[in-house]
């Protein structure tokens, strides 16, 4: 057989594989969306689940938990990423830490959930709460986020650091003013993609943020009130946990419909995150590379 032919066959094979993957995803997502699409409307998004067919509080809880998780995990991940890629690039400690992080990133999330339950909910007596959930999700998120941030920083050539230092600028200032701004597009992608994972996480939350969504009062800004939407110590069932609960222990006649609608909302939000990641990274790239 001649080489051109082999080349062409291989290329078509690869295209076929890609097409299969894309088709499977489209089929899967399309099926879920088609089933739940009719449920999703403005009322579905804005009614509390206690009052009927709504997921208002679950949707808010998911977003609130996500924001708290990012506030907790971003600084830690950024610090670790700087330490691992710049300061400790060749140190023994860094290589051990990198291995540990890799191992941690494949830890089943139910284990993180149970760990959070034992430590935060029971031992520290925080109870089923937004806070417990956010801390558990931080454990869940840190390895991935640290890895993606390390990767983003590592794509900035180390010669930039040399350049800054040779100009009499301290290493820290060069990192802050040259290296990090250049790494931001990569870091934004990393943050938003991990946000998608966090947003859809259920197992780590079932025993930490809890499985109940008390009706929230969005006009109550006193974070110490139990019905305040900002109260971090109230239980907070998220979209993903809601889906899980509806499918395992719900007795209502509408459980399946609500579950299907919730799935649509969850999927679309995560797709929106991915889209946002691209836009933000692109925007920033444009801003500094011009």
């Amino acid at each position: 057989m001649n080489r051109y032919l082999i080349d062409r066959i291989c290329r078509w094979l690869i295209y076929a594989v890609v097409a299969t993957v894309v088709a499977l995803i489209l089929l899967f997502v399309g099926f879920l969306i088609a089933k739940g699409w009719s449920t999703v409307n403005w009322q579905f998004l804005t009614t509390a689940s206690d009052d009927g067919l709504g997921i208002r509080d679950q949707l808010f809880n998911s977003l609130y938990l996500l924001i708290l998780t990012l506030i907790l995990s971003c600084p830690i991940a950024l610090g670790s990423a700087i330490a691992l890629t710049i300061y400790g690039e060749k140190s023994r400690f860094a290589s051990v830490a990198k291995m540990a992080i890799q191992a941690l990133s494949s830890l089943p999330s139910i284990i993180i959930g149970l760990f959070g339950f034992l430590l935060l909910v029971l031992k520290f007596k925080i109870g089923f709460s937004v806070l417990s959930g956010a801390i558990a999700l931080t454990f869940f998120n840190l390895p991935i986020l640290t890895q993606s941030m390390s990767l983003a920083i590592a794509t900035v050539p180390s010669s930039r650091l040399d350049a800054g230092i040779s100009l009499g600028v301290s290493q820290w200032h060069t990192i802050i003013k040259v290296v990090l701004p250049e790494a931001i597009p990569g870091m934004i992608s990393g943050i938003v993609l991990s946000a998608g994972r966090v947003f859809g996480e259920a197992a780590a939350l079932i025993y930490t943020a809890g499985q109940s969504a008390p009706k929230l009062n969005y006009g109550n800004w006193n974070i110490f009130d139990s019905n305040s939407f900002l109260n971090p110590l109230r239980p907070a069932e998220t979209l993903a946990v809601h889906i899980w609960k509806l499918n395992t222990e719900s007795i209502g006649p509408d459980a399946e419909v609500i579950s299907q609608g919730t799935i649509v909302v969850l999927i679309l939000t995560i797709v929106a995150f991915n889209f946002l990641a691209r836009q933000l990274a692109h925007h920033w790239q444009h801003k500094i590379y011009r």
Binding site: A163, I165, S166, G168, H173
Partner: protein
């Protein structure tokens, strides 16, 4: 250790920077005690095979080896030994600028590249900064090539232009000494010629030390040449003298490509 033959000429010009028994040790010793005097406002070329210690030596002069290697001995910049822990290395690196083998501009605007270092060292008015940037770019013949547009991204420039921008970036700090680590080895002959022209012009005001593998380049632009071999300085002389009639057989072999 058997003594090795060396020939070190003493320059007649005033000395800008000199080393006294400078040694460098990584895991192993990389540079044996080196005494070298760099004449002011002249170009000195450091030549020698790869691994001969010339780049290692160069990077000691602005303390770029801090934390990477043990550097002992004196580095006298004028009357001051700058190889002491209490020396302010940030201030020192402002006085001794450096250019690297690969052009390494920041992936930002030309303006950011030029102003970044200066702003760290001094407060300077916007107008003064603008003027300084123009002067620096004119010195490296880049001002007209970029048509005065400082907002362009440095990575859009050609390799040679990037390297000259890096040179201008160093000049912004008004250093006394320029260290160049094979600055033209990644560039084509035309870009190389432009850099060399810049250096010949700059040597009126700056003391220039250049590491190069390009012997023609050393012959073309340098006033003095130092030959390193296996971590030791072996011969130091006026370039004309060394390239016509080196004192050591070893130098002669290296210059005529008679190695191995």
């Amino acid at each position: 250790m058997a003594p090795v033959a060396t020939y070190l000429q003493t320059p007649t010009e005033p000395i800008a920077i000199q080393t006294e028994d400078l040694t460098v040790t990584y895991d192993q010793q990389a540079l044996w005690p080196t005494n070298l005097q760099f004449p002011q406002h002249a170009i000195t070329a450091l030549i020698g095979p790869s691994g001969s210690g010339k780049s290692t030596f160069l990077r000691c002069l602005n303390r770029m080896n801090d934390g990477l290697a043990k550097v002992e001995g004196k580095i006298m910049l004028g009357e001051v030994d700058v190889n002491r822990p209490e020396i302010n290395v940030y201030r020192l690196r402002q006085q001794i600028g450096m250019l690297f083998q690969q052009p390494n501009p920041f992936a930002r605007s030309i303006r950011f590249n030029l102003s970044f270092g200066v702003m760290e060292h001094q407060h300077i008015s916007r107008a003064a900064l603008q003027e300084k940037m123009q002067t620096a770019l004119e010195m490296v013949d880049l001002w007209s090539e970029i048509e005065g547009d400082l907002s362009r991204n440095a990575l859009q420039l050609s390799g040679g232009q990037q390297q000259r921008l890096c040179l201008a970036r160093t000049l912004m700090l008004t250093p006394d000494v320029l260290l160049l680590d094979e600055p033209a080895s990644a560039l084509d002959p035309i870009a190389t010629a432009k850099i060399e022209a810049n250096l010949l012009k700059l040597k009126q005001n700056y003391t220039i030390i250049i590491v190069t593998h390009n012997l023609e380049q050393a012959a073309r632009i340098s006033d003095y040449t130092a030959f390193f071999y296996e971590g030791k300085l072996r011969e130091f002389d006026r370039t004309k003298q060394m390239f016509i009639k080196p004192h050591l057989q070893l130098t002669n072999d290296y210059l005529s490509g008679n190695f191995g």
